[in-house]
Amino acid sequence: MAIEQIKMPQLGESVTEGTIEKWLIKPGDHVNKYDALAEVNTDKVTAEVPSSFTGIIKELVANEGDTLAVGEIICTIETEGAASEEIVEVKEAAPEEPTAETVKPAEVQKHATPVEREKGAKARYSPAVLKISQEHGIDLSLVTGTGNEGRITRKDLLKIVESGEIPVAKVEQEAASTPSPTVTSSAATPKPAHTNVPVAVGDIEIPITGIRKAIAANMLRSKHEAPHAWTMIEVDVTSMVQYRDSIKNEFKQKEGFNVTYFAFFVKAVSQALKEFPMMNSMWAGDKIIQKKDINISIAVATEDALYVPVIKNADEKTIKGIGREVNELAAKVRSGKLKSDEMQGGTFTVNNTGSFGSIQSMGIINYPQAAILQVESIVKRPVIMDGGMIAARDMVNLCLSLDHRVLDGLVAGRFLARVKEILENITKENTSVY
């Protein structure tokens, strides 16, 4: 005796379900093999479901009107013979454990000794794993992998990064022959390498002073970390020059110091920075900080060093105010009285390279600022004006170095265009030095 199941048959291609239209038997009925059990309606046909067995109808699982998927049980039949292979098949499908077992190896690997872990998949890293480990300075030899055969997976590293507990290689290990090019943040300022420069008779050895060391470290750091991009524009400052020349003597008499072109440039830059705040920002590793205050660093050179005092809130000051401050700061630098807090807080640097007669230069950004503007020498040049006439004009080049991590050419270009616009429109009528 055995209970057999009758299932919804497949009654044509694309047919996936059928509806029991009418039962032709009832429980307790005796049926022979191939006897019709029910009428089934599908999208394509109406057909009779034949019995696959001879026996007594045990139970009608589906009701008339029910729609069943192909393969679902519609009724059961009690047969007289032994159980068919149908039941054997069910047993076969039952044990599912082996698949669950396969998750285990990763756990086992965790307890293995480090030497063992180095073997197999452990030491073979996927491109994604190498990339993440390099980005975050993760020493992979200290990571336990959960992948197949202890492989370190991308997800393992993402979990470590998320937790913030990054295993970094010790310094001694770095000296060993580990070829991993890990760049950690602590290693970001490389120590000055000891280079062998041949010294001949008559050569002078100059010891590195503190300020020289600081300049070297800052310049190296800026060039090393900030990808510099460079651009230059030409500005016609004829009317500005005329204006300044016309008030030069009177100003000196009244105020006691010179009104310089440089003050006009610093004022124009401060005004443009207010309109393009992105230029007044800094790279901070995982973010960019846009500074609210506009503090202009200016470069002041002495015989053997370079200082960058800061004009704070330059956008709030007049041309005269800026001129006075430049004058005072320069005097302090030269007399060695500059205080360290007068060099702090700069957000953008304007460098007066024109004072040396330079007409083009590529400044190194004053780290961690995002850009530096070099104001070159004003020179008289023949310029073709609107209408085709040639005129002698006062021309100046403005050279901008920018940290390409923070800024792109577009904003830098618009900023420079605005500086140019301001400078070219300076006249006695619309600009006051006070």
Binding site: T16, T99, V103, P127, A128, V129, K131, N148, T153, R154
Partner: protein, 327 residues
């Protein structure tokens, strides 16, 4: 929204487009009085008449050729191939004429035709009723190939295909016809051809596939979810040209990619998907790109055991996904 089967969504799309635009007409074997062997054009003959729902002779090259001519003349034909397996006599018309005409005529002529064809196996159809033929057309610039997986996508993509000014191959999985049901808005909408769709968000592995296999992957993902494996599933929807951005994004998300097709493995669409990932995502990959496909055997066998061996199913997809997750 109405719950509708995949095939009903296709019928509705054609009906709406034929109502909207009288240039749209259907031609094919038994599409008229019978309403199609799968009933995809059911009711269209009664509603639009014999001149817009044309029963044709058993000659696929003529169905394609007449359709192409009508399309170039300004009509919007939907040419039905009864089974994708029977499209072969029409391939010359489709590739040499339909896909080339815009290029050949320097934009003077276009061919806004849709070739609809049921494809795919798992329905005990054997050789001539089970094959996947999409790869044949997938390096023919000028053609587009759409294979929707859900009723919603089927309606939106078929309407977009009909409105497209260039020839579109529209392959419908015949097992999905009545197996797959889903919500379909009654109102007019189209889905942009050439855009893949994320059918499931996940973190651990990415499965990229199309057609009925999308549902196999979704079922497998449900099972794996219980074991803590989270699968991201991308439905290509348009397999030519491929949505490169969508593929790169999905592959980069987890770094572990399984590509699934029921077509024969070698030379199938997923090989091209693998190439796109290899070209663009090297440093985001955490495992070798994995493929699950039919074996390189001429066609789907008839014997149920052999068909089961050939055809992918949720169990096979689940096994592959699990293997990749554990890598």
């Amino acid at each position: 929204m109405a719950i509708m089967s995949y095939i009903d969504a296709i019928t509705l799309a054609m009906k709406e487009e034929m109502t909207r635009d009288e240039r749209v007409f259907v031609l094919g074997e038994d599409v008229g009085r019978k309403g199609g062997v799968f009933k995809a054009t059911n009711g269209l003959y009664d509603e639009f008449g014999e001149y817009r729902v044309l029963d044709t002779p058993l000659a696929e090259s003529a169905i394609a050729g007449v359709g192409i001519g009508a399309a170039m003349y300004g009509l919007r034909p939907i040419a039905e191939m009864q089974f994708a397996d029977f499209i072969m006599p029409a391939v010359n018309q489709i590739i040499s004429e339909a896909s080339r005409i815009r290029y050949r005529s320097n934009n003077d002529w276009t061919c806004p035709i849709v070739f609809r064809a049921p494809f795919g196996g798992g329905i005990h159809g054997a050789l001539y009723h089970s094959q996947s033929v999409e790869a044949i057309f997938a390096n023919q610039p000028g053609l587009k190939i759409v294979i929707p997986s859900t009723p919603y996508d089927a309606k939106g993509l078929l309407k977009a295909a009909i409105r497209d000014d260039d020839p579109v191959m529209f392959f419908e999985h015949k097992r999905a016809y009545r197996l797959i049901k889903g919500e379909v808005p009654e109102e007019d909408y189209t889905i942009e051809i050439g855009k893949a769709d994320v059918k499931r968000q996940g973190e651990d592995i990415t499965v990229i596939t199309y057609g009925l296999a999308v549902h196999f992957a979704l079922q497998a993902a449900e099972r794996l979810e219980k074991d803590g494996i989270s699968a991201h599933i991308l439905d290509l929807r348009t397999i030519y040209p491929l949505d490169k951005e969508g593929i790169i994004e999905a592959a980069s998300k987890t770094g572990k990619v399984l590509l699934v097709t029921e077509d024969n493995k070698e030379g199938s669409i997923i090989g091209e998907v693998a190439a796109i990932i290899a070209e663009n995502c090297l440093f985001d990959l955490d495992a070798p790109i994995m493929r699950l496909a039919g074996p390189d055997i001429p066609a789907m066998p008839y014997a149920p055991t052999m068909e089961k061996f050939f055809m992918i199913n949720p169990d096979k997809v689940e096994k592959a996904m699990r293997e990749l997750a554990e890598y």
